[in-house]
Symmetry: C2
């Protein structure tokens, strides 16, 4: 039943990823190709990510709203770059109410077209700006090689869309949201990220600039975990967001958009999981501590169960999300494996011998460390230990990321090492030809030009021409 | 700008409904026929309904998950009554990824087909039951005569889907959720409801029994505010939810489904709104108290604003959601109208004369009642007053509902009175022919056979044959 059948990371990382998702009861493929089913355990984690992110989105002055699932084709067509980027990936509704439609409807792959058109109707004067709205929604992008959480045809996300009076205001908004994403990734998901700007080839279709947070998975590959776009006046011109400025002239608004998705769950799995299954950071764990009582027969049960109840009460009072696994038809061993695979941060074992000693066995999921502590101290030990685990998970991930980050000048050196994974900081002249060459040679792409770096002029690692700015991060990516 | 342009309820109730939604900035029609845009104020109310409902759904043992937006046509076809009921209303995706699909995909109008099929894969033994899952999702049902919140092509809802070992368990679940809906409608939305069972003709397609909560709007028309379905073994047979029972035999599970939607926002508007706009129950108001400072020039502003800050601080400490409307380009009058139209439960006016007296003016949105109280007492008065308002709103709605509820025996009497609106309790023999006759004669339908009623045998009001059970509630409905 609870047999372990998880591939080892070192043997087959891709298979390991599939296995831990299946065994951790996170998600599965549905009978609709490319669409996933997010199971309760996976969705419980996503709900907590949502709540944390939503609080931050509201704290920075945004309100939630909801816009339609469908985008008329003609509306989509108004922004050339945008339609070119997205139309080939769209699901198209051609029939409804038993009739063929006069105009096909695209299932939204993203909502700039419909939201900017709406803003255009709402805005007349500078007094109506800024508009700062977010929506939580499902979007659809046709996907031939789906991977659970990472690349699915339908996925869940939030998309923020704002319109501003000036470009400076819009630019500040774009950075504010990038900071929110980075802070939430690090402090909630325990996933360290690099903030930076995308190269032109990796921009959102139609954007003036795309900013990103890039995380490094355990196999050294990069994962784009969130993006924030400075859309300039491109979409407000295409969709008509015009306002009368303070000086009386008619002007186009400056817009932004930004999003994170269920992909974050994939980032979490590949940052923290181990060969025994997924490992969930305490802040996101639907259950933070699971109690496995160990007993035989009704007599022992009558001795053990009241203590379990008492532990639950004191743990709840200490703010710990706790569950006792009282299933009668499963022995402790399979229960241990099951909760390990789900990644519950702490486990308590409690049987007759523990009772006699007045102790419980407390085990950390992240390190496997066991300690025996007096039962009376469980809550006062567990609550701060969850904080420690959260911090340790971030620090371990950061140390691994840093250990796999390299500053290189020699392209041959890069080519020989890129297969091992990691972030490679190299000088880049800014030419897309060099970007393309790297991709063709190594499958690596420019993940970003990191915000934290200082300019480091010198010869481009690829072509030798002058590279003026910060070093670009090259990596293979999900 | 903030000109009032709301039709009076007595003159044109339908126009009034559209007007208060527009003026209250709740929602609007999008350029996609039938799809609405839920604006931040309306969505803020919906978010609070969601949170309250979600807490209750979880407290009764359910977990959230997420299932695909698309349903393959062949899957839908497996349950004949179900497909007959829903297929004509479906939006159909025929193209994706720039290609025509081999099999069309329906955009989910409800998710029994996909969820029951999935449960069928998850369930092997009685140990895997019950499954108790809910999802918050968007659904699409083609709609030619859309009305904001009440009937839109796309709407937001939650749909719970459970599978059980026995019919008794499933029946208990159906009633538990009906109770949750009723309690939430009354205690959170302040919308009194009648619980009952639907007649066969009004059942969910494929259900063995459909239970409903029915609310009465101010014009006396009924609104079905939530439903809970006993699906018997119909769907588990169609979609293959089979398990090995405790006795070793293979059995089909007993399933249920239940949902409430953004329609609840429509119920709220039509229960509480008045000729000045919508009125939001305090528990759902994104802003519970708005402060309008009254001053001229910088000197007065410097005197008034610190007091406003102090009020906000003490109100927040008392748990009141408060906002100060400090917009410089609007005079107090238009601000009053705007927040009245949005239905904020309490308003504070504060100007120089109030400051000199040490008072504030506090106005209730629901009754229009004004009181002058010492500024120092604002928080201690406002917090309990919000509770009073919430209760008063429910009681007023209940009194109006009861005043418009009639027990009738004479069909001619009913026909002459049904146009005035209201719930009419009449004996009904159970024949669908009588139901149809009522509908043809009067456009009224059977809303439910109420749970709270006792059997009251006598002649059917329509045909005169024996009617054994409880009286049915006849009403015109939204």
């Amino acid at each position: 039943m609870a047999r372990r059948k998880i591939a080892k990371r070192a043997d087959d990382y891709a298979q390991w990823y599939q296995d831990v998702i299946a065994e951790g009861q996170m998600a599965e493929h549905s009978m609709v190709r490319g669409c996933m089913i997010i199971k309760p355990w996976g969705f419980g984690i996503w709900e907590r990510i949502q709540r944390e992110m939503d609080d931050r989105i509201k704290a920075t002055g945004h309100e939630n709203a909801y816009f339609p699932l469908f985008v008329p084709k003609s509306l989509f067509d108004k922004e050339a770059e945008h339609v070119e980027g997205f139309a080939p990936e769209c699901a198209v509704v051609t029939h409804g109410g038993d009739k063929e439609l006069e105009e096909p409807l695209f299932v939204r792959p993203t909502s700039e077209a419909i939201i900017c058109t709406t803003y255009g109707k709402w805005v007349e004067s500078w007094r109506d700006l800024p508009i700062m709205i977010n929506q939580w929604a499902n979007v659809v992008r046709w996907e031939m090689r789906p991977r659970l959480f990472l690349r699915t045809m339908e996925f869940l996300w939030q998309e923020g869309h704002t319109a501003h009076e000036t470009h400076d205001e819009a630019k500040a908004e774009v950075q504010t949201m990038l900071d929110v994403y980075a802070e939430c990734a690090e402090n909630v998901l325990a996933v360290p990220v690099v903030k930076g700007v995308k190269s032109e080839s990796e921009r959102f279709p139609g954007a003036e600039n795309t900013y990103t947070i890039e995380a490094m998975m355990q196999d050294g590959r990069a994962l784009q975990a969130g993006t924030s776009h400075d859309l300039g006046q491109v979409f407000s011109k295409a969709y008509g967001i015009e306002f009368q400025g303070r000086d009386g002239t008619m002007q186009h608004a400056w817009s932004t958009s930004w999003g994170v998705s269920t992909r974050l769950v994939g980032a979490l799995i590949m940052t923290h999981g181990d060969d025994a299954g997924i490992v969930v950071p305490p802040k996101l764990a639907p259950i933070q501590l699971v109690i496995i009582p160990i007993y035989k027969g009704d007599e022992q049960a009558a001795e053990i169960k009241p203590d379990v109840e008492a532990m639950m009460t004191s743990l709840r009072a200490a703010g710990v999300r706790v569950k006792a696994d009282l299933r009668e038809y499963l022995r402790p061993g399979p229960k241990f494996f099951e909760w390990e695979k789900k990644g519950v941060p702490l486990r308590v074992e409690y049987g007759m011998r523990d009772k006699e000693a007045g102790n419980v066995v407390l085990k950390r999921r992240d390190t496997g460390e066991k300690q025996i502590i007096p039962m009376a101290e469980l809550a006062s030990v567990a609550a701060p230990l969850l904080v420690t685990i959260q911090n340790d998970m971030l620090e371990r991930a950061r140390a691994r990321r840093d250990a796999n980050t390299h500053v290189l000048d020699d392209y041959a050196d890069f080519k020989s090492r890129v297969g091992d994974g990691g972030f490679f900081h190299m000088r880049w002249c800014g030419a897309s030809a060099c970007e393309t060459k790297v991709k063709e040679d190594t499958k690596a792409t420019i993940r970003c030009l990191p915000h934290a770096s200082e300019p480091d002029p010198g010869p481009c690692a690829i072509c030798g021409e002058a590279a003026e700015g910060v070093r670009a991060i090259f990596a293979r990516a999900y």
